[in-house]
């Protein structure tokens, strides 16, 4: 058995930031991650990170307002205020740690424009900002006392009398399960992308932490809010960063028209993501698309700028769409990208379960509400990662270790053994694919009651199939077959919270757009939907939105 003050599940930006903060505050900290830290999905973030720096003439209130308007007024305004106020110091802190941010003429941090914001306040490292930040944070972790369990897979939370006292995790190298006791556990395991097919997300984004929180009884909030990014490649769903439009690229339909003129005359291509994705989908649905896509045209930006600031996505276009954006428009379409919802936390990362914290894409504070602004997610991971690390390390000072022993891995060990013993049934692959297809069909940019009901009944059938899933690989060492099968179990639970949340919300708000209920309804639905699992059954609750000073208004871009 291992024993720590604080265990962090996940080594993305949120997890490593949390671990550093807790360790600097004197806690004995472990990070458990199913991939090497630098392989975490945070590395995929291309465009940048937002912060309103006052010495640049910007101010946090403008950033907060843009965020709240972007969220379609579903974000909790106290949380957004915290994020906007603390953004500057987090970005500067990353710079001091060694992130190679692009500069302006005076050698200060340079900015680019991003969607849904009236001010250019997105700081960036070319078009691989996430990778740049992730590696720098990893350097700091290597120089700290944090113990990192690399390629270890968390299978469950250790719960005693409604409190979280650690995790059970598998060392993937040996296949052995270990009990890992902690006074506090911070879940920072990233998003749920693979629940949808296709998705911009990595194959490891399977919602493990959200599902573990759900199974343990924590509230899961805003899950109906699924972001479809406006510019993803058709073939493999890879992302073409919003940075392209931030740098001035246009969106064209089959008639060569900059169609955003009709939907968002002021902000055009840089309206909020939900708005742009809906506009594209409408163009495609009304027959002005090309083979299910519209075009991202960056030709007028010139090769020099593209090479300096968009080199990575230029290569993605060449590799995966056969189009070089220097000479050709690239066909793109809306694609599943981000989950605004997650484990409900307060502004210090605390969930409804004592000893359990959440941070990053896994958590829902809620700063993104109905729609996240581009470049606010990296910020969310750092600000709330640090805050949960700090809070947890303070909190554990007054806690004694629970009586936990090695027997706590027994249930998981038996479940896994049963799974390995089963030899009649189907492999995970088709079940996962069918789940993704159903979700992408019925919980996409446009939704309606019938479609969502269909998804709900599909899910029941998928869960039935899953109860007979088999694992080909019967060995223990690096059994990725087993890992994928366990992940699929997590994904099915996440899908349940998404579908239930979506069926519950009887209006259109942010990313949740219903063709059968096209209007926003502040009177009845200016509230969060929280799904939790009580005695194995899902239960739905409401939580009011926290409004500090920005009253809901009509949303126009």
């Amino acid at each position: 058995m291992f024993d720590f003050d604080v265990i962090v599940m996940g080594a993305g930006l949120a997890g490593m930031r949390a671990a550093l903060a807790a360790s600097q505050n004197g806690s004995k900290v472990a990070v458990i991650t199913k991939v090497y830290p630098v392989r975490s999905h945070s590395n995929a973030a291309q465009g940048g990170i937002n912060a309103a720096l006052t010495d640049r003439g910007d101010n946090w209130e403008d950033h907060a307002f843009d965020t709240i308007k972007g969220s379609d007024y579903l974000a909790d305004q106290d949380a957004v205020e915290v994020m906007a106020k603390e953004a500057g110091s987090e970005v500067i802190n990353m710079e001091h740690m060694g992130a190679a941010f692009n500069r302006d003429d005076q050698g200060r941090l340079g900015v680019r424009a991003f969607g849904g914001q009236r001010e250019a306040r997105t700081f960036f490292v070319a078009d691989f900002t996430g990778q740049a930040l992730l590696h720098v944070l990893h350097e700091q972790v290597l120089n700290s006392g944090v113990k990192v369990f690399e390629e270890w897979f968390v299978t469950s939370l250790i719960m005693q009398e409604g409190r979280c006292n650690g995790v059970v995790a598998m060392d993937m190298r040996t296949g052995e399960l270990h009990v890992m006791r902690a006074k506090a556990v911070i879940i920072a395991s990233g998003g749920v992308g693979r629940v949808f097919e296709p998705s911009t997300n990595a194959l490891i984004c399977t919602g493990d932490g959200i599902a573990l929180g759900y199974r343990a009884g924590a509230g899961i909030m805003d899950m109906e809010m699924v972001q479809y990014h406006p510019t993803t490649l058709k073939n493999n769903g890879a992302l073409m960063s919003e940075a392209a439009r931030g740098e001035g690229a246009h969106l064209l339909n089959s008639e060569g028209e900059r169609f955003m003129e009709r939907y968002a005359p002021n902000m055009m291509e840089l309206a909020s993501r939900d708005v742009v994705s809906r506009s594209e989908q409408t163009e495609i649905n009304e027959g002005r698309g090309i083979d299910g896509c519209v075009l991202l045209d960056a030709r007028h930006l010139g090769e020099k700028l593209i090479n300096e600031r968009l080199s990575q996505i230029r290569q993605l276009g060449i590799d995966f769409a056969g189009k070089d954006m220097v000479t050709d428009p690239v066909p793109i379409r809306p694609g599943m990208h981000y989950i605004m919802g997650g484990i409900k936390t307060d502004i210090d990362g605390q969930t409804s379960i004592p000893g359990l914290y959440g941070a990053g894409e896994t958590a829902c504070v809620s700063v993104h509400g109905g729609n996240r602004l581009g470049a606010n997610s990296l910020l969310d991971t750092l600000v709330f990662g640090r805050r949960s690390g700090e809070h947890a390390s303070e909190w554990v000072k007054n806690q004694t270790s629970a009586s936990v022993d090695d027997s706590y891995s027994k249930t998981d060990r038996e479940a896994i053994q049963n799974l390995l013993n089963r030899d009649k049934g189907e492999m995970f692959g088709q079940i996962r694919l069918n789940l993704g297809q159903t979700m992408n069909k019925h919980l996409a940019v446009y939704r309606d009651q019938n479609g969502m009901e269909q998804a709900k009944s599909d899910l029941i059938e998928l869960k039935n199939r899953y109860s007979n899933v088999i694992v080909h690989d019967k060995n223990l060492i690096f059994n990725t077959n087993l890992i994928f099968t366990l992940e699929l179990g997590f994904m099915l639970d996440c899908a349940e919270t998404i579908i239930l949340g979506a069926l519950e919300r009887k209006e259109s708000r942010g990313a949740h757009t219903r063709t059968d209920m096209p209007d926003r309804d502040d009177k009845n639905w200016l509230k969060h939907i929280v799904v939790s699992q009580i005695n194995g059954e899902p239960k739905v609750d409401y939580v009011p939105v926290n409004i500090t000073k920005w009253q809901p208004q009509e949303r126009k871009y």
Partner: protein, 317 residues
């Protein structure tokens, strides 16, 4: 279309535990990558196939492997680029210079140990400014070029020095070291260069270019190692065979306009360095016997003075 993926496999749990080959014939699309093919196999044909992969867009660094003998990222290697009407077979193996755990999965431990060995974090003596450090965009773009390394291990896999000397820090760790030394914010250059000057460091690269060739992110590890050599010599770390070799090399050319291979090693090690001279003796003897010994006395080339002038003009060494 269909292709044959011929995969090097190894199951550590199996009895006998010997590596074997397995060929899978699969249907693929025009745009499919080698990774797509492998995923298809493990999801539809044989769930036991083990490999690491995650982002599918060449940024996470998980899926480095050897395809047709060369280290690549499977996720940005298109199948159509590898097959023809005549040959539809593709060879897939784990990356080299690392121990195999299972199928295409290798131990990265030694890789990370070497990364850690270069103290991979920014070191400053003074406390940071209140706001950001002021730096030119050029310096940051240049730095971002090397920080674009995704630690995939492709360069480590195909490094010809590591293949014969596992103590060599290797291209990835040295490129990482460069990242700190080139960073205007780091204040530990002199100690870093001193450490890199030790055996297994910057002077052990043979400049075979293999790392530059296979790097999927254009990091140019060898180019960085060469720059580190320059930095080390500029900082006054000249007391290594490598540094002396470089100095003697240019000295001979500067003074004669042509290289003399007899004097190069002799001067590098020092004529009175008896142990090294004794070590050279057997090679010298062999060369004499095969008639390949370079002349001890040699002539300067005509116009050598112009070469000397060139050296003065460009102020190298």
């Amino acid at each position: 279309m269909d292709v044959d993926l011929n995969i090097a496999r190894f199951n550590p749990d199996a009895e006998g535990k010997s590596p074997y080959r397995q060929e899978f014939n699969i249907e693929v699309n025009e745009t499919d990558t080698v990774l797509d093919g492998l995923i298809k196999i493990r999801e539809e044909v044989d769930g036991t196939l083990a490999l690491r992969c995650s982002c599918r867009s060449a940024i996470c660094g998980s899926c480095a492997m050897r395809v047709n003998g060369q280290a690549v990222l499977a996720c940005n290697t298109k199948i159509t680029d590898l097959v023809s009407n005549k040959n539809k077979s593709i060879n897939v193996e784990p990356i080299g210079n690392m121990k195999i755990i299972k199928d295409l999965i290798v131990e990265f431990d030694t890789h990370w140990e070497k990364i850690k060995a270069i103290d991979p974090w920014i070191k400053t003596d003074s406390s940071p400014p209140e706001a950001e450090y002021i730096a030119s965009n050029e310096s940051m773009v240049e730095l971002a070029g090397v920080m674009g390394c995704i630690q995939c291990g492709a360069c480590v896999s195909d490094c010809t020095v590591l293949a014969v000397d596992e103590t060599f820090l290797g291209p990835a760790a040295l490129a990482k070291a460069y990242r700190f030394i080139a960073d205007p914010r780091d204040e530990a250059n002199s100690q870093r260069l001193k450490d890199l000057n030790e055996p297994s460091g910057i002077w052990d690269c043979t400049r075979c270019m293999q790392c530059v060739e296979v790097c999927p992110k254009g990091v140019d590890p060898m180019g960085r190692i060469m720059k580190l050599r320059d930095f080390a010599m500029e900082a006054g770390f000249k007391n290594t065979n490598g540094a002396r070799h470089a100095e003697v090399f240019s000295e001979i050319i500067r003074n004669n306009g042509v290289l003399n291979e007899f004097w190069l090693p002799v001067k590098t090690f020092g004529m009175f360095n008896i142990p090294e001279m004794l070590k050279l003796a057997p090679i010298g003897l062999k060369m004499v016997m095969r008639g390949k010994m370079p002349p001890i006395f040699y002539e300067k080339i005509p116009g050598y003075k112009n070469i000397t002038k060139l050296f003065e003009k460009t102020k190298v060494l």
